[in-house]
Amino acid sequence: MLEISNLKARIGDTEILTGLTLSVNAGEVHAIMGPNGSGKSTLALVIAGHEDYVVTDGTVHFMGEDLLALDPEERARIGLFLGFQYPVEIAGVNNAYLLKAALNAKRRAQGEEEVDAFEFLKLAREKMALLDMDPALLNRGLNEGFSGGEKKRNEILQMAVLEPRLAILDETDSGLDIDALKAVAKGVNSLRDPEHAIVLVTHYQRLLDYVEPDFVHVLSGGKIIRSGDKSLALKLEEKGYDWVREAASA
């Protein structure tokens, strides 16, 4: 589904991704872990198409398409979703209005009929109940005055409504209390089936207690230096990142 090969990217004069290779198939859940500054968020933003990052080498294919040739909105419409580490607040852009516009943009692109207001509300309310979200949040400005936990739940709500083929969640677990973490995990697990894939970018192993990954990768210095199964995450938690860096350079 997602094929990244020898990806190099920079922002300004700083090279952040230095030759990253990763393959994600439908039905899989991957966790990408790594210390601060290793390039985790850059990877997520490059895949989503952030213009500040310049890809200098390598290829990214998604659903058989050359992802790097597509605009961010085109990437979204073929089924890519990025859950932001810092979701933006936009007063005056209604949360429901945006979500409905996003859903219909995708449906149009995929040749499906647009949903009307009634169908949309039914769908949104159903997903909100799953995430234990206050339905009133739907009629507020986008993330306007939301708590940190509410913002992250709102990202997961968008994901649940849009049902992307591949969801990349950038530190969605950071700053969440245990109830919010469980709710987010529930949302992520609901997307988990043979058709969909999920990439969890995370600093800690905490979320992985609730969403069990099939693969765990360690990112350091802009490339993946080690891959394994979920036991790798536990080992990292126990021994720290220095252990894997030393092992990699040995």
């Binding site: 605009d71 909105e73 990437r75 932001f84 933006v88 005056g92 852009v93 996003a102 968008q158 849009l162």
Partner: protein
């Protein structure tokens, strides 16, 4: 700077062609004082960024016809259709002022409503029994060429069940046109009203509309005032609203400039008794070569009283806008609370905003703040929206609309908000596109 000046001999002859009625002494006095100064030029501090040369030009064109008595104020059917179309969208007691003349049928229609709590009369010629005020050049010109005055009285202790709508429509289909609209609104004690002032224009020739409104709020009166300017982008306008606030009165003014070629608005608020509160909100949306200038002035003569002001602008292409907000807290006006802000969104590198909040404080116990911002669309927000599948234009429009929404939401009339939102959307489709 242009050296073009008003042709005063043509102006004199045009005034001479008007009926010899009770208004004539006022006209002649105003003609004399206007002729001394002519139109303000960019040498005047208050007009520094707004060059009236095109207005002078169209005025002279019209005066040439008026001086020999060949202009009339009738409007064509299209203009009247506009009025009924607007009335179907915004439910209000509509009064039409066409080319400066109060449309008598619209008054007759209102007379049928017996218990509506207000009076509206046309004070043409001999019916004018009260002095009219204002001593700036534009008001003098308005008085010199005055043919009709609309006077509205909101009766004491009444709350109007729907807004009073004033549709000022100008028709320049048969030649260059000049109109002088004059409205006097008096609110009696403890009355409450919503007033919509709507400016529209039609016709392919050039047009300059010069409107002056006086508004007096008696003690305890409350007015929600909405001004919507939706003129043709080739047409010019100067509008002045002078409001006087008595004890414990409330005045909220929400202004939308969505059209017009060269537009200048002046809002003067005079707080003469304590306990009054004033809120001034404005949105100006300019593209192409539009020029929109908003000047406001709030005089806090006594305290306690509060004024809040927030104007927001969206500028594209080569448009140019001006904001000047003056707040004067006079000696002894203790307990004044005055806040003012102006925010601008520039969608083009060639657009220009000249913003100047001014605060003059001569009292001790006051709370005042002011500030201005100029910025572009937020890149992070744009990327976020695009990552959700919205294309660049759609995302830019959504953010621009959100910026405008802060002002739209201030209007208390739902139908006005809906109508203004529709107009803004139409404009944004051409304005925000491809500029993010």
């Amino acid at each position: 700077m242009s050296t073009t000046a008003i042709d005063t001999s043509l102006l004199e002859r045009a005034v001479g062609k008007l009926p010899t009625d009770a208004l004539m002494p006022l006209r002649l006095e105003a003609l004399r004082s206007f002729s001394e100064t002519g139109f303000p030029t960019t040498r005047h501090e208050d007009w520094r960024y707004t060059n009236l040369a095109p207005v002078v030009e169209v005025s002279n064109l019209w005066l040439r016809d008026a001086a020999v008595g060949i202009v009339d104020a009738t409007v064509n059917d299209a203009a009247m259709e506009y009025a009924s179309e607007l009335a179907s969208r915004i439910d209000a007691y509509w009064i039409v002022i066409a080319n400066g003349i109060v449309h008598k049928d619209s008054l007759t229609r209102l007379a049928a409503h017996a218990l509506r709590g207000f009076d509206a009369v046309s004070l043409a010629g001999d019916d004018l029994v009260q002095p009219i005020s204002g001593d700036d050049p534009m008001t003098r010109l308005n008085t010199a060429l005055l043919r009709d005055v609309l006077r509205i009285t909101i009766r004491a202790d009444n709350t109007l069940d729907k807004p009073v709508g004033l549709l000022t429509i100008d028709d320049a289909s048969s030649g260059a046109a000049l109109s002088q609209t004059r409205v006097i609104i008096e609110t009696e004690r403890n009355s409450r009203a919503e007033i919509i002032e709507y400016h529209a224009s039609a016709g392919g020739h050039r047009h300059f509309a010069n409107a002056v409104t006086e508004l007096d709020l008696a003690s305890g009166a409350s007015v929600n005032y909405v001004r919507i300017q939706n003129r043709d982008t080739e047409h010019f306008q100067s509008g002045r609203l002078m409001a006087r606030l008595h004890r414990d009165s409330n005045f909220r003014h929400t202004a939308f400039d969505l059209g017009g070629g060269l537009i200048r608005n002046d809002v003067d608020v005079d707080i003469v008794e304590p306990g009054a509160s004033v809120e001034l909100y404005g949105l100006y949306l300019a593209s192409g070569q539009q020029h929109i200038d908003n000047h406001t002035r709030v005089d806090h003569r006594v305290g306690p009283a509060a004024s809040t002001e927030e104007y927001c602008g969206i500028l594209g292409d080569r448009s140019r806008c001006v904001f000047n907000g003056k707040v004067i807290v006079h000696r002894g006006a203790d307990g004044t609370d005055a806040r003012q802000s102006n925010h601008n969104l520039l969608l083009s590198e060639k657009a220009e905003i000249d913003t100047k909040p001014e605060l003059e404080i001569y009292a001790d116990d006051v709370k005042c703040s002011h500030g201005a911002t100029v910025g572009q669309l937020d890149k992070t927000a744009l990327f976020y929206l695009r990552s959700r599948g919205l294309d660049r234009d759609e995302a830019a429009q959504m953010l621009t609309r959100a910026f405008a929404a802060a002002v739209v939401s201030k209007s208390t009339v739902q139908a006005v908000r809906n109508h203004v939102e529709t107009l803004i959307d139409q404009r944004l489709r051409t304005l925000a596109g491809g500029l993010s």
